[in-house]
């Protein structure tokens, strides 16, 4: 940003022809810089304020009222909506379901996608086709994914048929109807859909690992595993940290798949914070309460994002919100 401005400014002064003594041109270039900033940042700022910041403030305000969306806000209840939400076993369950997805993603998807990326980075036959194959599900919209899996997972459906065909009939479950299974099922579908994204991300990260380092390690007598663990993984660090960030935020806000596949059921066994919010806000017209849930969800994501940026992404995103890193 600053370099571009500097270049433009210099051009202007030379174009003006007369490099006059200090004062006026500098003031003019200052003005120009401000104008540029206003022009470039203005529209985005306006959109952000109108569609993110103001609604956020409005929701925070609504959350203090018992309000069904109609008529004036008269029934001020203070923080009642917050205590009610946090005290509701269904919402507590929703938080735990989100946490389950967060942790399961980190424990299962992270190693899996790194391993697959390493595999696909090697010189194997049909590499391009395989890369395409693992990435394909990510291209589908989440709603389409959900509708497809909803039909595949019905009892005696395609999934059950495939398992039985493979002699694994004993593994067949009531994928979406069993309260003890449904979260695992959803996690499997999430993994199916998003593993490709992780793999592509890590493949890109692997391109940034200099070949010379591996060669040097080999010459020093390092085994393949040692090279991976001591050279490749540390250099993959920035990519891993970004993946973890996106994964956790995505898991905290999980909605589409759940809403289409289970509506949070059976009996709340797969409710997430976002599905709880929509359920209470739009299905029950409890807009004050729904706003409180939205603010809680926002606060959780925001605080996490801040801390993660501050402590984990610090070295990767210099100057973003962390200030200068020495």
């Amino acid at each position: 940003m600053s370099t571009i401005t500097a270049v433009v400014t210099r051009d202007v002064t030379t174009a003006a022809g007369s490099p006059s003594p200090q004062g006026a041109p500098r003031r003019r270039s200052h003005l120009r810089k401000r104008l540029e900033l206003a022009l470039l940042l203005g529209p985005a700022t306006l959109l952000f304020v109108t569609f993110v910041f103001l609604p956020l403030v409005a929701a925070a305000y609504y959350s203090l009222f018992d309000w069904n969306g109609f008529g004036p806000l008269v029934d001020f209840v203070g923080l009642d909506n917050y205590t009610k939400a946090l005290g509701d076993p269904l919402f507590q369950g929703a938080i735990s379901h989100n946490l389950f997805i967060v942790i399961a993603s980190l424990v299962v998807q992270l190693p899996l996608s790194i391993a697959l990326a390493l595999l696909l980075n090697g010189k194997i036959k049909g590499r391009t086709a395989l890369r395409l194959l693992v990435f394909a599900p990510y291209v589908l919209s989440e709603a389409v994914t959900a509708v497809i899996w909803l039909s595949l997972l019905q009892p005696n459906g395609v999934v059950d048929g495939l398992l039985e065909g493979a002699g694994l009939g004993g593994l067949v479950q009531l994928w979406l109807a069993d309260q003890n299974i449904v979260m695992l099922t959803l996690f499997a579908v999430i993994t199916w859909k998003y593993i490709g994204f992780g793999i592509i991300l890590f493949l890109a990260g692997l391109q940034g690992v200099p070949e010379e380092l591996r060669e040097a390690a080999q010459i020093d007598g390092a085994t393949g595993w040692q090279t991976t663990r001591l050279i490749v993984l540390p250099l993959l660090g920035p990519t891993i940290r970004i993946w973890v960030f996106l994964s956790i935020i995505g898991s905290l806000q999980l909605f589409d798949l759940v809403w289409i596949m289970t509506l949070g059921g059976p009996a709340g066994a797969s409710t997430t914070m976002a599905s709880y919010l929509i359920d209470r806000g739009f299905r029950r017209y409890e807009f004050g309460f729904g706003s409180a849930v939205a603010i809680i969800l926002f606060a959780i994501c925001f605080v996490f994002a801040l801390f993660y940026q501050r402590f984990a992404l610090r070295r990767d995103t210099q100057g973003a919100i962390t200030g200068r890193v020495e």
Partner: protein
């Protein structure tokens, strides 16, 4: 992991939706232009054929007869319209005519202060629609007009019943249990239910309550949102006992109601289950999910009698579809709704099988299918119709009721828990 970039904004987006209702409901202007013509905005949920054309043709005809009126028709998908209406009603420019199921939902919407009182504009002709129109009135004030009535009963496969050696449809709960046993013995899933969507579960609790509760207790309970009478507890217990007989298809708590061949409607349509408790729209939904002509294969019988119940055995659960008016163009809206309920359009709705029970008696003459005729006759002869509880109650309580019944289906809760959930949501 969910990294699709838009997902990052679910929270912010939901917040935005919740608070920026004014924007999404915005249609701009008040619809009165300088040349004296009035523009009405008309929201309906008929996004599929044939109903979309029926409404469009009706509007075209109405505009021709009333050159000073222009109607801006906006078809909105059924699931979306329920979300858009509350947002529009909290804005400055709600639609002039919008789809409504009446009942407590309409009463909740009336709290917006935007819904019109069309009593004086409709008083001359609303009587022609019979008792169906009562559901679009709140405290004696008419807010809207229905175009169709519906009742809930069992749709069943005549071929599967015959295969299981069942010769007559059950009229009592005991007979229904026998029917279930016979179907099971024949290796047929007896009843399909779309438990994932919750509202189909609620039909069982509602129907049992209609049987267990006397008319006055039932109507008072729904009007006051107070289901503490013993008969409602009995209905809860009936549901628990009925589920215990395992009459439903495998994994019914994860089954969607109407999506695809694996849905409960799809199961019955394709012979995967023998019957389903559903509304009058169900035959056309099932027909949409199979290539087989269902006319000779599908029959209908009402919810069976329950021993010792206080309710009239001919009463039933039901409701209807209609339109409500907002204030800006109340008179024009009422006039248009009068036009919409004329015999011709009513007959067209019946002939296209969109509507099973027209609100105008004259249109009933066009019903030819014997099964549909029996449904129509049952509705005509019913002692009274109890509106779907989730529509009759205020929205929050109605939705809480559906959730509580769905919990019973998932094995959670007691006979009292439905009444408790309704009370908590009041």
């Amino acid at each position: 992991m969910n990294t699709r970039s838009t997902r990052k904004y679910v929270a912010a987006g939901a917040v935005a939706l919740m608070s920026l209702g004014a924007l999404s409901g915005c249609s701009g202007g008040d619809g009165d232009s300088a040349d004296g013509t009035t523009t009405l905005t008309f929201w309906h949920n008929g996004t599929t054929e044939p109903i979309q054309s029926i409404w469009q043709d009706a509007v075209d005809e109405y505009e021709k007869a009333n050159p000073d009126i222009t109607i801006d028709v906006v078809p909105i998908q059924n699931e979306d319209i329920d979300t858009k209406i509350p947002l529009a009603l909290s804005s400055d420019s709600p639609p002039d005519i919008y789809f409504s199921r009446g009942g407590g939902q309409l009463a909740t919407q009336a709290q917006s202060g935007q819904i019109a009182d069309i009593t004086e504009y409709t008083s001359d002709w609303i009587g022609d629609l019979g008792k169906a129109a009562d559901n679009w009135a709140v405290d004696g004030v008419q807010h809207g007009v229905p175009y169709a009535s519906q009742v809930v009963g069992f749709w069943y496969r005549t071929d599967l019943f015959a295969q299981a050696g069942i010769t007559s449809t059950p009229t009592t709960l005991d007979e229904l249990n026998d029917t279930v046993d016979k179907l099971k013995a024949a290796g047929i899933a007896p009843i399909a239910v779309g438990g994932k969507d919750r509202w189909p579960d609620a039909f069982y609790y509602n129907s049992f309550a209609v049987r267990e509760c006397g008319e006055d207790v039932l109507k008072k309970g729904l009007a006051e949102g107070d289901l503490s009478d013993e008969c409602f507890t009995k209905a809860g217990q009936d549901v628990i006992d009925f589920i215990a007989t395992e009459p439903f298809q495998e994994g019914f708590n994860g089954t969607p109601a109407q999506q695809g061949a694996g849905s409960s409607a799809g199961l019955v349509a394709n012979g995967g289950a023998a019957m389903e408790l559903q509304g009058t729209w169900h035959k056309s939904v099932m027909q949409g999910l199979t290539d087989t002509d269902l006319d000779p294969l599908v029959g209908w019988f009402p919810f069976p009698e329950v021993d010792g119940g206080e309710g009239d055995p001919s009463a039933t659960l039901g409701g209807g579809d209609g339109f409500a008016c907002t204030q800006k163009h109340a008179e024009e809206c009422a006039d248009f709704l009068e036009f919409l309920s004329n015999d011709d359009i009513q007959s067209e709705l019946v002939e296209s099988q969109v509507v099973a029970i027209p609100v105008k008696e004259a249109a009933a003459a066009t019903i030819t299918d014997p099964v549909m005729k029996s449904v129509y006759d049952f509705n005509t002869e019913a002692a009274y119709i109890a509106t779907y509880f989730d529509v009759a109650l205020p929205t929050a309580a109605g939705s809480a009721l559906n959730d509580a019944v769905a919990n019973l289906f998932a094995g959670k809760g007691t006979a009292e828990s439905v009444a408790e959930a309704v009370k908590a949501a009041e």
